[in-house]
């Protein structure tokens, strides 16, 4: 900040200005604190409708994310998770692959929905990127057959036990996996 410009001497004589009173040397008394408000209670965690299942499900804020419940499991637990959700009456929505190249992992996300009530469940798992293998769930949900073929097409994930892991959307002789992050056009 520039110091204020010096004022030109005025022609009108001005009465002497009393010096400003010095600030008291005593420390000012602290201001009385505002009436103490109780700290806001933390927002209640979203309800977990699948708390009775023996897998680490937790409730998710539907309005923020679009699903009600999710669990992160290890790759060998996906079939058990599918069976549990099948018993609960859910249906398989889709299987998504995500290539986290920087972390050297691939994520396989299973989406399930319930055909009678508002319940969307997400089961995620991570597999190593240089050897992406995971057991198939097509015996529990036959609809997974095509979703797993598509995930294999795009990412190269091998679903152990799949009856027909041939290209589904790519040409029959395709050997490339286009949605990997290190894919360059052929």
């Amino acid at each position: 900040m520039n110091p204020p410009a010096p004022q030109p001497p005025s022609s009108v004589p001005q009465p002497p200005v009393a010096p400003a009173p010095a600030k008291p040397a005593v420390a000012l008394a602290p201001k009385p604190a505002a009436p103490a408000q109780p700290p806001l209670p933390p927002a209640p965690p979203p309800p977990n409708p699948l708390a009775h299942l023996p897998l680490p499900f937790r409730g998710v804020d539907y309005k923020a994310k679009g699903y009600h419940c999710e669990a992160a499991v290890s790759p060998d637990q996906v079939v058990a998770a599918a069976e549990l959700l099948d018993n609960e009456g859910l249906s398989l929505d889709t299987i998504t692959g995500v290539d986290w190249m920087a972390e050297g992992q691939m994520e396989v996300v299973y989406d399930y929905f319930h055909p009678a009530k508002a319940l969307r469940v997400v089961v995620r798992t991570r597999i190593p990127r240089d050897n992406p293998e995971i057991p198939t769930i097509h015996k529990v949900f036959p609809g997974a057959n095509w979703h797993e073929r598509e995930t294999h097409d795009f990412f190269g994930v091998r679903f152990l036990g799949h009856p027909n892991l041939t290209p589904f959307l790519l040409p029959e002789d395709a050997t490339y996996h286009p949605l990997r992050k290190d894919f360059t056009a052929c």
């Binding site: 889709t94 989406d111 009678a116």
Partner: protein
């Protein structure tokens, strides 16, 4: 029923031949190839082969910004384009916590329902063309042209509208659209009655569809089939009722459900859905509030916080869901499109085993497939 019991063999066992249906065939569903192993006129195994119209939509999601990806969403299922754009735009708005103004929400519902009617009309005409009747196609396209005129007046496009924007709509509607939509609703109701007496009550159609292609509700659940397929099997699952989005919870409409599980049930579900869509449009026009059609403070450069976000809508064919995985940049990390036709077709192999070929085509038509919806 075991397949081998259903096959009528003329004495020589294991004499089957392979018949290739498509990828170019007159049933105008698109480019689908079905490799059929046939025993005479009976299907032993029908294996759909997809990928002939794979247009890399999910890969393009990783190469386009959120706003640049909007036209792609219309082209996934071009007959029901509004609901697909709604799914994508809703996911982005959910992630950014944008508040869409009420007028825009009501307009989204009106245009989506008009689109649903036009999609069902194309399905109806093409399905009857498959079954051998040419006339209903012309009637259906005539009615559809009226809807397309209305939507062209506000969006500028006849088929692949990109009318929704992230935060609202492209532009507001004028009185011509509102008046025209009311007139359309008034003149469409007698047309639906005429379709009923011309086609639905027709003895030939009834013989072709009743008890053909039963799909049990358990099969639907195992394959993830949604939309009229699961509603024609007795399960009243509709995303607009189970996971209400936009302003659908404010309308009074019935979810048509028929328990017979055959192709006729799926046919009747769609015919009734057209009538219910007219009801929704009327109520939305009555309740349409005034106000802006675009949210305030939509950021110029859209960057979603890291994480994944989902949104589901009820398209004409079933449940359409979008999952966006973001890493904080302005280009999505992964866009996953869950399309209804893929799940609906995946049960075709099991459901068509042992059927006569014309009956299997009636079943496939009643599943209402759009092949770019499968291949994306």
């Amino acid at each position: 029923m075991l397949v081998k019991d259903a096959i009528v063999s003329n004495g020589t066992p294991n004499e089957t031949f392979t018949l290739n249906l498509g990828p170019q065939h007159p049933a105008t569903h698109g480019v689908l190839r079905v490799k059929m192993t046939m025993d005479g006129e009976y299907i032993v195994r029908a294996e759909p082969v997809c990928g002939y119209i794979h247009r890399m939509q999910e890969k393009m999601g990783e190469n386009r910004t959120y706003a640049q990806f909007l036209p792609n969403t219309s082209r996934i299922d071009y007959l029901s384009a509004m609901t697909y754009t709604h799914g994508f735009v809703g996911a982005v708005e959910r992630a950014l916590k944008l508040q869409v103004p009420p007028r825009a929400e009501y307009m989204r519902v009106i245009t989506s329902e008009l689109n649903r009617i036009s999609s069902h009309l194309v399905w109806w005409g093409a399905f009857l063309l498959d079954l051998g009747g040419f006339t209903p196609l012309l009637y259906a396209f005539d009615d559809r042209e009226k809807i397309l005129d209305l939507l062209e007046g506000i969006t500028g496009s006849r088929l692949t509208y990109s009318y929704f924007r992230i935060g609202g709509l492209y532009n507001d509607v004028d009185d011509q659209f509102l008046k025209g939509t009311r007139e359309f609703v008034t003149q469409m109701r007698p047309r639906l009655k005429m379709y009923r007496s011309l086609v639905t009550d027709n003895i030939i159609l009834r013989k072709r569809l009743i008890d053909i292609g039963p799909v049990s509700p358990e099969m639907c659940r195992k394959y993830g089939a949604t939309g009229p397929v699961i509603r024609g099997s007795g399960v009243p699952y509709d995303v607009r009722r189970v996971e209400p989005y936009s302003v659908y919870s404010e309308f009074d409409f019935v979810i048509p459900t028929f328990p017979e599980t055959d192709s006729m049930a799926r046919y009747l579900v769609r015919m009734e859905e057209m009538a219910q869509s007219l009801r929704i449009i009327e109520q939305a026009l009555d309740k349409l509030p005034a106000g802006p059609v675009m949210a305030e403070k939509v950021p110029r450069v859209l960057k979603l916080p890291a994480g994944d976000y989902c949104y589901a809508t009820e398209a004409a064919r079933g449940r359409f869901a979008v999952r966006i995985v973001s890493d904080g940049k302005e280009i999505p990390y992964r866009v996953k499109l869950r399309t209804p036709s893929l799940s609906n077709l995946s049960l075709f192999e099991e459901a068509s085993a042992g059927m006569l070929l014309p009956d299997a085509l009636a079943l496939m038509g009643s599943l209402d497939l759009v092949i770019p919806d499968i291949d994306r």
